[in-house]
């Protein structure tokens, strides 16, 4: 009997082991250490000071030198709500005192690259510089922290954010990849402009050299606070402004990856050339091109004309065709499509410009244009930026869409400085392309482009809508996500449909082909995110 029992146990054990081996999760690939990651960057570094800059051209090569207070989870970057501690301990704290107080415990094992120990006072000095910089010092995103009343460090390893009111926008704002942690001593000794030209962080890599226009080089930080990381010996961020060169660099193995994204055709070419030596990661992208009508210029000062503009655009079918040639794909409203606050398809289809029946939509557009007395024999001016992907592609598509309801536009394509001058100052257009490209998905702030122009700072359609401003304020002071969602739907309906203020075309779509030996990096819904490189390794 005992022998039978033993046999049964043995048989069960073997069966179980086989089942686990066959169906169970494979253990993670064995990480290989060492190697230099080479990647190409398509934009130039202005300065090294992330608190001041806004371009990925600075984030990609410089971010690995710095840490953040909290960051988007590098193993789950697709989630818009998954944040983890970087220099803080444990998990991201839950607010106390009615949602108005966040207390962070700071790690005790972090050193700046110059050998100084980092503590809560450094983090406080950093956020003071970002939120309330001294007079004459610029901070690009200080308006994102209008809900913060104070930042204090009661002891060396505790940091407290006190808010004026509870806000769901504060945690994503704190996780901005631009919030590099600086040393308080550096700020005190060298001043607030020192970081424009100098680097002293606590990131996974230490600065080696920067040859302007050529490359930035970093090497492994042996004292990095995440044990065993980074896996790489170093990295080299090679400047390559032309997309064709970036593509060829991956094909010819001069670089392994490009973190911003390629258009579909370039990706197809690479797949064809490299086969299984290439891996492609794809994601929705927290950027969209917007149609911005000039509310101060007839006939677009009439809400009926503006509604006709959006009703003429067939987003559902356009997505199918444009996604083959351009970096756009997802149909969405004002909120990033994957976020819990975003409209469902059914909700979207009730908004002008998203109706499922395009014939009905265009018939309504024609009726509105007639009712508004729009002169269809005239040619109106459409302001666009001289960048192929996706501006010129989407711009040309829009002209065709509007022609289908009788509206004729002349597309004026301008180089970036002239385009911004027109968009922001001259306003010498009837309709312009504008764009909304953000970092961490934070709808409560990302939609600020739809606020009145005296509130927003980035709304160029020249309108004031106090109702939208009021709803925005309500949403930002509302801690309950369900209630936030209800207000968001009203906001969206008013902005895109009832008042037809500005419109979203299609959300961008990020395609990152890279050499298959690059492991550990996961695509995020923004080209600004997941660029610490501490979890990247090379399988070769």
């Amino acid at each position: 009997m005992a022998r039978l029992k033993m046999k049964t146990i043995l048989a069960l054990t073997i069966t179980l082991a086989l089942a686990v081996w066959t169906f169970g999760p494979r253990s993670a690939e064995a990480v290989k250490r060492g190697g230099i990651l080479k990647f190409v960057v398509g934009s130039k570094i202005p300065s090294y000071d992330a608190h001041l800059e806004t371009t990925f051209g600075m984030i990609h090569p410089i971010r690995p030198f710095y840490s953040l207070l909290i960051r988007v989870n590098p193993n789950n970057p697709q989630s818009p709500t998954d944040f983890i501690c970087d220099v803080c301990e444990g998990s991201v704290p839950k607010p106390t005192e009615g949602g108005t107080k966040y207390t962070f415990k700071i790690r005790k094992d972090i050193w700046f690259h110059n050998g100084a120990k980092m503590n809560a006072h450094d983090v406080k000095a950093t956020y003071d510089k970002i939120i309330s910089p001294p007079k004459g010092i610029a901070s690009a995103r200080k308006a994102y922290y209008s809900m913060v009343e104070s930042v204090t460090a009661p002891d060396d390893y505790t940091l407290v954010f006190k808010l004026k009111y509870p806000s769901g926008a504060v945690v994503p704002a704190l996780a901005s990849p631009f919030n590099f942690i600086y040393s308080k001593a550096d700020l005190k000794k060298h001043g607030f402009s020192w970081h424009k030209k100098n680097i002293n962080g606590t990131g996974a890599f230490t600065f080696v050299q920067h040859k302007p226009g050529a490359f930035v080089e970093g090497k492994r930080n042996a004292k990095f606070h995440i044990k065993g990381r980074p896996y790489l010996d170093g990295y080299r961020a090679i400047s390559a402004p032309k997309m064709s060169i970036r593509k060829q660099a991956i094909q010819g193995d001069r670089a392994s990856i490009e973190f911003r994204g390629f258009p579909p055709k370039a990706c197809d070419d690479l797949k064809k050339a490299l086969g299984d030596k290439l891996v492609v990661q794809e994601s929705d992208w927290n950027c969209n091109l917007m149609i911005t009508p000039n509310h101060k210029r007839a006939p677009f000062n009439d809400v009926r004309t503006r509604r006709a503009l959006t009703l003429a655009v067939d987003r559902w079918n356009g997505s199918k065709y444009l996604s083959r040639i351009a970096i756009v794909k997802t149909v969405g409203g004002i909120v990033f499509p994957k976020h819990p606050l975003a409209s469902t398809k059914a909700e979207l289809q009730k908004i002008a410009g998203y109706w499922p029946d395009i014939k009905k939509s265009r018939a309504e557009a024609k009726r509105l244009l007639k009712e508004a007395g729009v002169d269809l024999s005239k040619t109106y001016i459409f302001n666009n930026r001289g960048v192929d992907q996706p501006y010129k592609v989407v711009g040309t598509w829009l002209l065709d869409q509007w022609r289908s309801v009788g509206l004729n536009f002349k597309q004026e394509v301008k180089p970036s400085p002239a385009f911004y001058d027109s968009l922001r100052k001259k306003k010498d257009w009837h309709v312009s392309i504008d764009f909304n490209c953000q970092t961490v998905i934070n709808p409560l702030l990302d939609i600020s482009k739809f606020l009145s122009n005296d509130v927003s700072g980035s709304q160029h359609a020249q309108y004031k809508d106090r109702e939208l401003d009021k709803m925005f304020d309500q949403m930002n002071r509302e801690a309950d996500p369900a209630k936030q969602r209800v207000i968001m739907r009203k906001f969206e309906k008013r902005a895109l449909d009832e008042q037809a203020t500005q419109f979203v075309t299609l959300w961008w779509y990020k395609i990152n082909p890279h050499r298959s030996y690059v492991k550990g990096w996961k695509i995020a819904p923004s080209h600004y995110l997941n660029q610490s490189l501490d979890n990247v390794w090379l399988d070769k």
């Binding site: 010092i137 064709s244 950027c287 909304n436």
Partner: protein
């Protein structure tokens, strides 16, 4: 020289100010995120863009007179440092392209003239017309694609020229494997112009009385060509080569982009796109100086090539 530089300075300064947009708007608002108006104002103040245009012009001229080119409005780094980094590469490409062009143009032009209206002449003329018709950036793209495809077929691994610059004295092989291709792409177009010039001037010289006299004296044809005809025909060719060399120093705008060369041409394009006035001004002045110096050098060379020319 001085009036030319003053003219160039005035033109470039005021023409740049006519272009709409400024570097701060682009830097702070160029990504579509919220742009803090105060941050834009601070940036404009820091860069002196809030000063009157005439005050900015005086600053520029005063700095230039003291050889102080200022700082780049985009990177905040010293312009001398930014230019210095790229000058070496641009100079090397210009020299290599000039050598390539000279080694192609003078022998081919000479053969073409000697064998006028024969099949050899037709081939050389077709070759040079193709060089003029073909933009060097297009040839550059074809070279890179060709290398990727051919090496992939032969070795199974696609190869392309390096995209990072290595100085010649650090690693000559890496340096040449990167720069030989742009030198060939630009040198070919450049040689096409010089080949045609060599051919036509040599044909002209070969019909001169002194050449006929040399032939009547019974001199060897080789000696007549080398000693009497070719040397005299090279004066206009030298001018063409010199001007092309000066052009290559700042004008390889597209070819540098195609091969990802961190040279002066690429810097100029990026600076124009970024509305980096100070950098564009400095580069245009640098190119003006290179043109002036090249012309001066050509004038000296004239005297060596043609002993009848004397400068008092």
């Amino acid at each position: 020289m001085i009036p030319t530089l003053i003219g160039a300075a005035v033109l470039i300064f005021f023409l740049l100010r006519l272009i709409p947009g400024d570097v701060c708007e682009l830097r702070m608002a160029g990504t579509g995120m919220y742009a803090d108006p105060e941050a834009i104002k601070i940036c404009q103040h820091d860069l002196g863009l809030d000063k009157a245009v005439y005050a900015q012009f005086i600053d520029f001229v005063w700095g230039f007179m003291q050889f102080d080119l200022g700082v780049s409005m985009w990177t905040g780094k010293s312009i001398s440092e930014e230019v210095g980094l790229r000058f070496e590469l641009s100079l090397q490409v210009a020299i290599m392209a000039t050598l390539t062009a000279t080694f192609i143009a003078i022998p081919l032009g000479t053969i073409s003239a000697i064998k006028q209206d024969t099949w050899v002449d037709y081939i050389v003329r077709s070759f040079s017309i193709a060089g003029i018709a073909m933009p060097s950036f297009w040839l550059g793209i074809m070279i890179i694609l060709g290398l990727l495809i051919i090496t992939n077929k032969i070795t199974g691994t696609p190869w392309m020229p390096p995209i990072e610059y290595t100085p010649f004295w650090v690693d000559p092989w890496a340096n040449l494997s990167q720069l030989i291709w742009p030198a060939v792409a630009t040198g070919y177009r450049y040689s096409a112009v010089a080949t045609r010039m060599t051919r036509s001037t040599l044909l002209e010289v070969l019909r001169e009385d002194y050449v006929r006299t040399a032939r009547a004296k019974g001199l060897y044809e080789k000696l007549i060509i080398n000693r009497h005809a070719l040397k005299n025909s090279l004066l206009p060719v030298t001018t063409v080569i010199g001007i092309e060399f000066a052009f290559l120093m700042g004008g390889l705008v597209v070819t540098e982009q195609v091969f990802n060369l961190n040279g002066l041409g690429k810097l100029l394009v990026e600076s124009v796109l970024n509305a980096d006035y100070t950098m564009v001004q400095a580069l245009v002045m640098l190119v003006a100086v290179v043109f002036i110096l090249t012309n001066f050098f050509i004038d000296i060379l004239y005297a060596w090539l043609d002993p009848r020319i004397h400068y008092s």
